[in-house]
């Protein structure tokens, strides 16, 4: 009856994480774990495969969801993991912190990183705050990022501007020839530049930045290069080693399909010492002597940025979301989203008065498509698509873009895309 660590592991962690073939353990099923089987890919009938994928998302059938870029729904198996793990941890009153190591391996694999380089955050914003708050920056030091940055990407630097007098310089992304973004960044670099940041994929228009080229530029100038990957991880495969950046922050609750308030921050191990933790607590240091304060030795690895009691069930469920995507195939997910976005693009191109803001070049765009119309204000388009046609898109008011953003993800279908195109046509016709 003694619930020791091993029994607990059998009951939840190792099986739940699939590290051993023990998913069918009685204790999980008795707790209502639905052990959903990931649909098997069939080249013969891909639409049937994607219908089975869609069936794993407990979304209301009352409307069609095209806003994964804002908040991504989670598949059942992720929610089941969250529920069962929470309940089992509550019955045993365990934090479940031991499972972080296993989840960290999964998250690191997912990003092409080493486990020691990954910490679990509550969202992309926290990841970017850790980097922006932790770098040693003096007054007049400069940071460069794009004017389309999400508040979660820009506010952490504006906070340093406010507190420490650093200088923020922004560039407008070039939507026609995204390679020119490299030149725009280069033009802003001065001897005082310390940091370059870009969104891997921009939030307003889904433009893919030439990250590896920017990494080379940043490295040549000895700058810290941070990437806001909120819109990329889960939409397209991400390999941070290939990207060449110094740090990469993403959310669990957008394209990855993890629970709300989850995220991952990656920091290159050999540069981690440059990012001093601003928030610390239990687990941030393995060794401190209250009698001899003054030297605070941070834990080796990125878990130094984690502290105190955490929600291990959320982290386990995030790892489960990553496993779900890996089983489906991340290239397949990216190709599906891109094909759906292109289907919408092809349809919208035929509608009078529609202007597409997302680059057409497939090298610089993926599953996001942003458009606007001179015929009707974006707010009206948004409301009519939602109110009259039950289509949830996202209004883009940033930078006076006044547009509508479509996010197409693995649970969306060609029929939904056609419905959207027809609805846009009708809304604009009536305008």
């Amino acid at each position: 009856m003694n619930v020791d660590r091993k029994t607990f592991l059998r009951g939840l962690g190792a099986g739940a994480l699939g590290l051993i073939a023990a998913r069918s353990l009685g204790s999980m099923e008795a707790d209502g774990y639905q052990s959903a089987v990931t649909p098997a890919w069939t080249g013969d009938n891909p639409e049937e495969f994607w219908r089975q994928v869609r069936a794993q998302f407990p979304m209301t059938p009352e409307r069609t969801y095209f806003n994964t870029g804002g908040l991504g729904p989670a598949p059942l198996r992720v929610l089941d993991m969250l529920t069962v793990a929470s309940r089992q941890l509550q019955e045993r009153v365990e934090t479940g912190h031991d499972f972080f190591a296993q989840a960290r391996v999964i998250a690191a694999d997912y990003l092409g990183a080493k486990p020691a380089e990954v910490c679990f955050t509550r969202n992309t914003t926290e990841g970017t705050c850790i980097v922006a708050g932790g770098l040693e920056l003096q007054a007049a030091d400069e940071v460069i990022f794009e004017s389309h940055a999400h508040p979660g990407g820009s506010f952490p630097w504006l906070n340093r501007e406010r507190a420490d007098g650093i200088v923020v310089k922004t560039f407008e992304p070039d939507p026609v020839n995204p390679q020119r973004n490299l030149e725009r960044i280069a033009a802003l670099i001065t001897p005082r530049t310390r940091v370059v940041q870009v969104s891997h994929i921009t939030s307003p228009t889904g433009l893919i930045m030439p990250v590896p080229a920017i990494a080379q530029l940043a490295r040549a100038h000895n700058l810290w290069f941070h990437v806001d990957g909120a819109q990329s991880a889960g939409m397209i495969p991400v390999n941070v080693a290939a990207l060449g950046c110094d740090s990469f922050a993403t959310s669990g609750h957008k394209w990855i399909g993890g629970p709300h308030e989850t995220g991952v921050l990656w920091i290159r191990l050999d540069r981690m010492a440059q990012v001093t933790p601003r928030h610390v607590g239990a687990y941030s240091s393995d060794d401190i002597n209250l009698k001899n304060p003054g030297l605070f030795i941070y834990s080796p690895g990125a878990h130094r940025y984690e502290y105190g009691t955490r929600n291990a069930a959320s982290v386990l469920a995030l790892a489960e979301a990553m496993r779900f995507q890996t089983e489906i195939g991340r290239d397949r997910i990216a190709a599906r989203g891109r094909a759906l976005a292109q289907r919408v693009r092809a349809g919208l191109e035929k509608i009078d008065g529609v202007e597409l803001l997302t680059p057409a070049d497939p090298a610089y765009s993926a599953s996001i498509l942003t458009f606007r119309s001179i015929k009707l204000a974006y707010g009206k388009i948004f409301e009519r698509l939602l109110g009259d046609h039950h289509l949830r898109t996202r209004p883009v008011s940033e930078v006076d873009l006044d547009a509508i953003r479509i996010s197409a993800h693995l649970f969306n279908s060609p029929e939904e895309c056609d419905h959207l195109v027809a609805a846009v046509g009708e809304v604009l016709r009536k305008a």
Binding site: G72, E126, F155, H260, G308, A312
Partner: protein
């Protein structure tokens, strides 16, 4: 180059919700209404507490005696967490303000604070860190706190020792009197003292610190007074208006019985601007155009940022409601009653030393005891292996003791088991 943040917030929040108004309302939580607690009958209190215990999915064995480490949640809290999650996953709308503000009002009322003084954190550590990182401090500035502080209370300051050259001054808690602790803090005050911090209740021995008196002392000296309330909120009634501190850190997942990774920070409204935010993003402020000047929200909301798990926040509010239904004074009294029973039983066991204070008003539902020969690890391991009792080893500051936390789900019979087990330990170890 213009970035209209106000419109951004409206468009993703209010606009969407407004347009949603014509669609179906959110489904009700899929769970049945929680069973009501019976009326409290002073003649038969144990029946009432058994009914309380039935609300917890906590397994019966081993006996759980560590609410001060990690508190179990009642089922209705879990139901609220998952019900909220299920509703939100169906529509995938942020619904941030709609869901977070009622919970903020609930928690603020519970703590005797204004809603604008409360932000939700992931744990008490984050709240302590926000204060330590956010105050303007320079080399040589001094902070005073007790040597028994939890790592979540001390590490944020040691980090400032490293980052900004802050000097830490420690005092050993005086277990004999409230005045003794005031005197020990007073003895450490210097012209460089910028902050005084104490644990409202220490995690090592469950000692109640004289918070209101220390608030007066700190303020007379012009120092910021911060309280780590991780061991107090949910164990004793807390009224922040009466305590007089400038800031107060709460944990949701200890005595309060909220979901894991919940907590809150109180910052007195008049002193809000003295704590510069460390983490910042959506919801923390307004920026009409980029580049431009970021204007922070005029409330503690400024310390929150980005997408949050609103199920956890709703669960925390539910935990508060559960405690209020039981009765907060009743919770504190029950914990003390159990602890008194434990203390009486332990008193006759040779060699067992009580480290928790004996003076009235200084002790609570946490009892820390030391074995004459076994260290903290050996003693707690023995209790767990041989008697199926889960206590917390106290190895901090070489105390080498075991802490027994007694809360609403514990019983007199469990106290008797602890007494019998400690008696056996005194002979066998």
């Amino acid at each position: 180059m213009q970035l209209d943040r106000r419109t951004f917030v409206q468009s993703v929040g209010l606009g969407a919700l407004g347009a949603l108004a014509g669609t179906a309302p959110l489904a009700a939580a899929p769970t049945a209404a929680p069973p009501l607690l019976p009326a409290y009958d002073a003649q038969h209190p144990d029946a009432f507490w058994r009914a309380v215990r039935a609300h917890y999915p906590l397994q019966d064995e081993p006996v759980y005696l560590n609410a001060g480490g990690l508190g179990p949640t009642p089922q209705r809290v879990l139901d609220r967490v998952f019900g909220t999650m299920t509703e939100m996953q169906a529509h995938s709308e942020p619904e941030h303000e709609r869901r977070i503000e009622p919970a903020r009002r609930t928690l603020a009322a519970f703590l005797g604070a204004g809603p604008e003084e409360i932000c939700f954190t992931r744990n008490a550590t984050e709240a302590n860190s926000i204060i330590a990182a956010g105050l303007a401090l320079g080399p040589g500035d001094e902070v005073i706190f007790e040597s028994h502080a939890h790592p979540g209370g001390s590490y944020p300051w040691f980090n400032q020792v490293q980052r900004r050259g802050v000097v830490v001054r420690l005092f050993e808690p005086d277990p004999t009197s409230a005045e003794g602790n005031v005197a020990r803090v007073r003895a450490l005050l210097s012209p460089r003292t910028k902050i005084v911090q104490v644990s409202h209740i220490t995690c090592t021995t469950g000692q109640v610190m004289p918070v209101a008196a220390l608030a007066e002392l700190a303020h007379a000296h012009g120092a910021w007074f911060h309280v780590d309330g991780a061991q107090a909120v949910g164990l004793v009634p807390v009224n922040l208006a009466a305590l007089g501190c400038d800031s107060y850190a709460c944990s949701g997942h200890k005595w309060l019985g909220g979901p894991h990774e919940t907590g809150a920070l109180f910052v007195r409204h008049a002193r809000l601007d003295e704590i510069a935010p460390t983490g910042i993003g959506s919801h923390t402020g307004e920026l009409p155009f980029l580049p431009g000047v970021l204007v922070l929200k005029p409330s503690a909301v400024r310390y929150e940022y980005g997408t949050r798990n609103l199920g956890l926040v709703a669960g925390l509010a539910e935990a508060v409601r559960f405690q209020e239904e039981i009765g907060r004074d009743r919770i504190a009294a029950w914990g003390r009653e159990l602890a008194a029973q434990l203390r009486a039983g332990l008193a006759g066991i040779p060699g067992i030393e009580l480290l928790s204070p004996r003076a009235d008003g200084l002790w609570t539902a946490m009892t820390t005891l030391r074995h004459p020969r076994a260290n903290a690890a050996k003693f707690s391991d023995y209790l767990k292996r041989h008697h199926r009792l889960r206590c917390r080893p106290v190895s901090e500051q070489h105390l080498e003791a075991v802490r027994v936390s007694l809360h609403v789900f514990n019983s007199r019979a469990e106290c008797d088991r602890v007494i019998a087990a400690v008696r056996a330990a005194a002979q066998e170890l």
